[in-house]
C-alpha cells in the first residue's frame, strides 16, 4: 500500500516536474479551489437540507399551535356560552313562575354563527326551552341521545360529543346540520324544588371544519382532529374514511405523547405532530409525509449544483487567466533566453513585459546581453589588435638579423677596400629601411614592395657573392595596386636560405593580374620542399625559428588573410630538385582607393 502510495506520489511529482509553470499553477490552484468550493457546497447543502426539514416541522408545529389555539378559544367560547347561560340565567330563573326562553334566544342570536341550537331539557327528557324556536321532531326521545346520557352520567362535567347530525328539531329546506354537542347537567328551580336538567349547546361543526380546512389549505400535509378515544372528529377526507376507501392511523396516534413523532403507515414515512386540547381531551394531529418535508430540496439541490458549477467555472477561469498573466511573460522570457542560447545576441529579442519583477528580469537580461555583446566585440577587437601587434612584432624581427649580416658584409667590404660596393650596399640598405618604414603604413603600392625586394636582392647578392641570379618581372599595370608591405622579401629570403644556392641558382619574381586578382610569384630552382614539409608550411607548426630572418611563410600568409580576408594568401608549389614557386594572391585594390576609403575588405 505504502509502495503504491509512494509510486503515486512520485508519479505526480514527476508529472509536475515535466509540466510548465502555468500548468502547475493553474492545476494546483484549481484543485485546491474546486476542493474548497465542493466542501463548502456539500457542507452548506447538508446544513441547509437539515435546516429545511427542521423549519418545515417547525412551521407545521406553528400552524398546529395556531389551530389548537383557535379551537381552544372556540371551545372556551362555547363553554362560556353554556356557563353564562347556566349561572346567569338558569340558576336565577324560577321555572314555576318564569321562563328563560327570551334569554336563550338572545344568547343564540349573539352566537348563532357558531351555534346551531341551544336547548334545555329536564332529567326526564322534557323540553323546557330551545332556541331557535322550532318544533320538536315527532318521536324524538332526548333521554336516549348520547349528549343527554353523558351529562346525566357525569353531572359535574361538561361533555363534548363526536360530530353527529342534529336530530331533535324540525328542519326546513331539507337541511341537516352536523353538530358537536356540548352538554352539562344543570339545576332547575321550580319554586322550592330543585331538579336536575340538561343544558345542551349544539356547536356548528362547520365552524370546526372551516378552521381545519383553512389550516390544511396549501400545506404539505394535513391536520385532523380526534377525540380522547381516538374517534375522528374532523379529517379532510372524512367521508372517504367513513366509506372505508382510505384509512387513518388515528388509533396509533392516540398513544403518542404531545410533540413530534415519526411513524410508518401504509409503507410511507410520516412526520406526525400531536397536540392535545385542554378540557376536551381532543387531539389535533398534523401529518406530513417526510418526503414532502423536503419537497423543494430537489430544486434546491439542482440550484446548488448549478451555483457550485458556476463557482468552479469562475475559479477555473480566474485561475487560468491569472496563471497565464503570471506565466506568459515568464514563458516569453524563457523563449528569449533560448534564442540567446542559440547565439542570437540582439537585445531587442529579449522580452520585457509582464509583472514588475519579470519586467525587471527581462531588462536585466537585456542589459546583460548588451554587455555581453560589447565584451565579445571588445574581445574580438583585442584579439585582432593583439595579433596585429604580434605580426607587427614578427615583422619587425627582420631588422636585427638582416641588419647584422648586411653590416657585417659592409665591414668586410671596407676592410677589403671595396668602398664602392660598400657604398652601394649601404645605399640599398637605406632604401630598404625607408620602404620598410613607409611612414608606418602596412599597406603600400606593389611598386614600392617590388623596389624593396630589389634592394634586398641587391644586398643579398653582394653578401652571397653573386652565387645566384635574379629576375624581376612585374606587370606595370599592377604596380599601383595595394599590397601588404614586406611580403615578397621574406619569400625571397626563404628562396635564398632554403634554396641551396649555387652558381646556377635563379630567383625570379613575377607579378601579374588574373581573373580580377593580383598574383606575385617568387620562384627558385633550388632543391624543392619535401611533400610532408610542404603540407605544414602554412600551418601553425611552421612557426619555428630556423635559419634566416625567422619570418616564415605562415606569418606572410596570416598577414595577408588578416588584412584581406577571403581566399587570399599564399599558394605553394614545389617539386624536389626542381624548385619552388610561392604565389601571393591579393585582391585588386588600387592604392588610391585604399587611401580614400581605408578599407581593404
Amino acid at each position: 500500500m505504502n509502495k503504491r502510495l509512494n509510486r503515486l506520489v512520485s508519479a505526480v511529482k514527476n508529472t509536475y516536474k515535466r509540466r510548465s509553470i502555468q500548468f502547475i499553477i493553474s492545476i494546483s490552484f484549481s484543485l485546491i479551489a474546486v476542493l474548497g468550493v465542493l466542501m463548502t457546497g456539500f457542507a452548506m447543502y447538508s446544513r441547509f437540507s437539515e435546516r429545511l426539514r427542521e423549519n418545515a416541522i417547525e412551521k407545521d408545529k406553528q400552524v398546529l399551535e395556531q389551530v389548537a389555539w383557535n379551537l381552544n378559544t372556540y371551545i372556551r367560547n362555547m363553554m362560556s356560552v353554556s356557563d353564562s347561560f347556566y349561572y346567569s340565567v338558569v340558576k336565577r330563573t324560577d321555572l314555576s313562575k318564569d321562563s328563560f326562553i327570551g334569554e336563550m334566544d338572545l344568547l343564540y342570536e349573539a352566537n348563532k354563527s357558531n351555534i346551531v341550537s341551544i336547548a334545555c331539557v329536564t332529567k326526564d327528557g322534557a323540553l323546557i326551552g330551545a332556541s331557535p324556536v322550532s318544533g320538536r321532531k315527532e318521536g324524538v326521545d332526548f333521554s336516549k341521545q348520547e349528549w343527554f346520557k353523558s351529562a346525566d352520567e357525569k353531572i359535574a362535567d361538561i361533555h363534548f360529543s363526536t360530530p353527529h347530525v342534529q336530530n331533535m328539531f324540525e328542519n326546513s329546506n331539507y337541511r341537516y346540520y352536523w353538530v358537536v354537542s356540548l352538554s352539562r347537567s344543570v339545576e332547575l328551580t321550580r319554586g322550592a324544588n330543585i331538579q336536575r336538567g340538561i343544558l345542551l349547546v349544539d356547536m356548528d361543526f362547520s365552524a370546526i371544519e372551516q378552521m381545519f380546512m383553512k389550516a390544511n389549505e396549501g400545506g404539505r400535509g394535513y391536520m385532523y382532529l380526534m377525540d380522547r378515544n381516538g374517534e375522528i372528529i374532523y379529517h379532510p377526507r372524512q367521508r372517504a374514511i367513513y366509506s372505508g376507501l382510505i384509512s387513518e392511523n388515528n388509533r396509533a396516534a392516540l398513544g403518542y405523547e404531545d410533540g413530534s413523532h415519526i411513524e410508518n403507515y401504509n409503507g410511507e414515512e410520516r412526520s406526525v405532530i400531536v397536540k392535545t386540547i385542554g378540557y376536551t381531551g381532543w387531539r389535533i394531529v398534523s401529518v406530513t409525509p417526510t418526503k414532502d418535508l423536503t419537497l423543494s430540496l430537489s430544486q434546491t439541490r439542482i440550484f446548488m449544483v448549478m451555483i457550485l458549477t458556476g463557482m468552479i467555472f469562475v475559479v477555473l477561469s480566474g485561475n487560468m487567466f491569472i496563471s497565464s498573466r503570471v506565466t506568459d511573460p515568464l514563458r516569453q522570457l524563457d523563449e528569449s533566453v533560448k534564442k540567446l542560447e542559440e547565439g542570437d545576441l540582439s537585445e531587442e529579442h529579449i522580452y520585457v513585459g509582464g509583472t514588475h519583477e519579470i519586467m525587471h528580469l527581462g531588462r536585466t537580461i537585456r542589459s546583460m546581453v548588451v554587455q555581453m555583446r560589447k565584451l565579445m566585440e571588445d574581445m574580438v577587437k583585442e584579439q585582432r589588435d593583439k595579433r596585429r601587434s604580434e605580426l607587427d612584432a614578427l615583422q619587425s624581427q627582420i631588422n636585427p638579423h638582416f641588419l647584422y649580416n648586411t653590416l657585417d658584409s659592409v665591414i668586410w667590404m671596407i676592410e677589403s677596400s671595396r668602398y664602392r660596393d660598400a657604398i652601394d650596399m649601404v645605399t640599398s640598405l637605406a632604401s630598404l629601411f625607408r620602404i620598410s618604414l613607409s611612414r608606418g603604413d602596412n599597406i603600400i603600392p606593389i611598386r614600392d614592395e617590388i623596389r624593396h625586394a630589389q634592394n634586398y636582392l641587391s644586398i643579398q647578392k653582394v653578401r652571397y657573392k653573386n652565387k645566384f641570379t635574379s629576375n624581376i618581372d612585374i606587370d606595370p599595370a599592377i604596380e599601383d595596386f595595394c599590397t601588404i608591405k614586406l611580403i615578397v622579401q621574406p619569400l625571397i629570403e626563404n628562396a635564398i636560405y632554403y634554396g641551396s644556392l649555387d652558381e646556377d641558382s635563379e630567383i625570379s619574381v613575377k607579378g601579374y593580374e588574373k581573373d580580377g586578382d593580383i598574383y606575385i610569384e617568387v620562384t627558385d630552382n633550388g632543391m624543392g620542399i619535401p611533400e610532408e614539409t610542404l603540407k605544414t608550411l602554412l600551418t601553425e607548426k611552421s612557426r619555428t625559428r630556423g635559419k634566416g630572418s625567422g619570418i616564415g611563410l605562415w606569418n606572410v600568409n596570416q598577414r595577408i588573410q588578416l588584412y584581406f580576408k577571403g581566399n587570399y594568401g599564399l599558394e605553394i608549389e614545389s617539386e624536389l630538385d626542381e624548385g619552388t614557386t610561392v604565389r601571393i594572391h591579393l585582391p585588386k585594390i588600387t592604392y588610391e582607393d585604399y587611401k580614400k576609403g581605408g578599407e581593404l575588405s
Binding site: H164, V165, R237, R239, Q299, M306, G310, L316
Partner: protein
C-alpha cells in the same frame, strides 16, 4: 497566430457547457408543473345538489390524482340529445376524460359507439347497458331485491303495490325494475305498473301520479329513482292518502321525507364512493394502469336500507348526510 490551448481551457469550456445545461434543466424544472387532468362529470337532471355526494367523492379522488372535476348538469332531466351535445362539447373543449351518468342508456350508448369522444370515458350510477362499457355503481338488481325484501319485512298484510315505471330509459332504473319484477321475494300480492302513455309523456309526472292515485287504490307505491321518488312525494303531499312509499333514491329531499316518515323505507347508495371509485377507475385506465383499474372495478359500491328509525345511526347518517364543505 495560432493560439495554443491548454487542457485547462478545455476543462473550463466543458464546465461552462455543463453549467448551461444545468441552468436549462433548472429553468425547465421551475417552469415544469404537472398539467391538471380536467375531468368533466356529465350527469342527468338539472339539480346540482342531487349530485353533491358523487361530486365530493370524485373531488376527493381527483385531489390524489392531480385532477379537477367539473360537474355539468343538464337543463332538463332526460334529454339524450342535450347530453350527447354536452359530451361532444366537453370533448372539444379540452376535457381529458369524461365521467358520465347516462340519462338514456340506448341513446347515449349508441352515440358513444358511433361517435367516440376521443378521450377516456366511463359511466357512473347509470351506464349504457353495454357490458363492455365500464360503469361504476351499486348493484341495481341487488338494491331492487333489497327493497323488495324490506317491503316484505314491513308489510305483513295482503297488499297491492304499484311500481312507478318512469325514467326506465336509464340503465340503472331499467335494471332495478327488471330485478324487482322478477324477484322471488314476495313483497306484494298484486303488483301494478304505473307508466305514462304517449299522451302523458310530455306532461309532468306529478299530474300523472295524482291521477293514478285517485283512480287506483294501492297500499304501497315503489319508486326506483330519486326523480320518481320526489315526483311521487310532490303528488301525494296534498292527497291525504295513507300510502306507504318505498324507493331507491339519493337526494336530500328524499332523505327529508324519510325523516318525516312520508317515505317508509329508502335504498340509499354510497354515491361518495361511487364518485371516488368511478374517477379512480377512469384515470387509472387513462394512465394505462390496468391492474389498478381492475381493482377499482371490483370494488363494491355500498348501499343502505334506511328508514325513520335507523337513519341517524352512525353508519347511516355518514352515508345520508354529506358533511359541510
Amino acid at each position: 497566430m495560432k493560439i495554443k490551448r491548454t487542457p485547462m481551457f478545455y476543462v473550463v469550456i466543458v464546465i461552462f457547457l455543463l453549467m448551461l445545461i444545468e441552468v436549462g434543466y433548472y429553468v425547465n424544472l421551475m417552469r415544469k408543473t404537472e398539467p391538471i387532468i380536467q375531468v368533466s362529470l356529465i350527469v342527468y337532471g338539472s339539480d346540482n345538489r342531487r349530485w353533491d355526494n358523487l361530486k365530493q367523492g370524485a373531488d376527493t379522488a381527483a385531489a390524489d390524482m392531480n385532477a379537477e372535476v367539473t360537474l355539468i348538469t343538464m337543463s332538463s332531466d332526460d334529454d339524450p340529445e342535450e347530453q350527447t351535445a354536452l359530451i361532444r362539447r366537453e370533448a372539444l373543449n379540452g376535457a381529458d376524460a369524461l365521467l358520465i351518468a347516462a340519462c338514456d342508456a340506448k341513446a347515449i350508448g349508441s352515440y358513444i359507439k358511433n361517435n367516440p369522444p376521443g378521450i377516456p370515458y366511463a359511466f357512473v350510477e347509470s351506464g349504457t347497458g353495454d357490458p363492455d362499457v365500464p360503469v361504476t355503481g351499486a348493484d341495481d338488481a341487488e338494491m331492487a331485491q333489497a327493497l323488495a325484501g324490506t317491503i316484505d319485512d314491513n308489510e305483513k298484510d295482503w297488499i297491492k303495490a304499484a311500481v312507478i315505471c318512469d325514467h326506465i330509459q336509464r340503465d340503472s332504473v331499467r335494471k332495478r325494475l327488471d330485478a324487482l319484477l322478477n324477484t322471488d321475494i314476495h313483497y306484494a300480492d298484486d303488483v301494478v305498473i304505473w307508466e305514462r302513455d304517449e299522451q302523458e309523456i310530455d306532461k309532468k309526472a306529478q299530474f300523472f301520479l295524482q291521477r293514478k292515485l285517485t283512480e287506483e287504490a294501492v297500499d304501497v307505491i315503489i319508486a326506483l329513482d330519486s326523480g320518481s321518488v320526489e315526483e311521487l312525494m310532490d303528488a301525494t303531499l296534498n292527497l291525504n292518502k295513507d300510502i306507504k312509499i318505498y324507493g331507491i333514491a339519493n337526494s336530500s329531499k328524499s332523505v327529508y321525507y324519510v325523516d318525516n316518515r312520508l317515505i317508509k323505507s329508502l335504498i340509499y347508495q354510497d354515491e361518495f364512493s361511487m364518485g371516488y371509485i368511478g374517477l379512480k377507475r377512469l384515470l387509472s385506465e387513462r394512465e394505462g394502469d390496468r391492474e389498478e383499474a381492475d381493482k377499482y372495478a371490483a370494488y363494491p359500491i355500498a348501499y343502505g336500507v334506511v328508514d325513520h328509525q335507523n337513519m341517524y345511526d352512525e353508519s347511516n347518517q355518514r352515508l345520508l348526510f354529506p358533511t359541510a364543505r
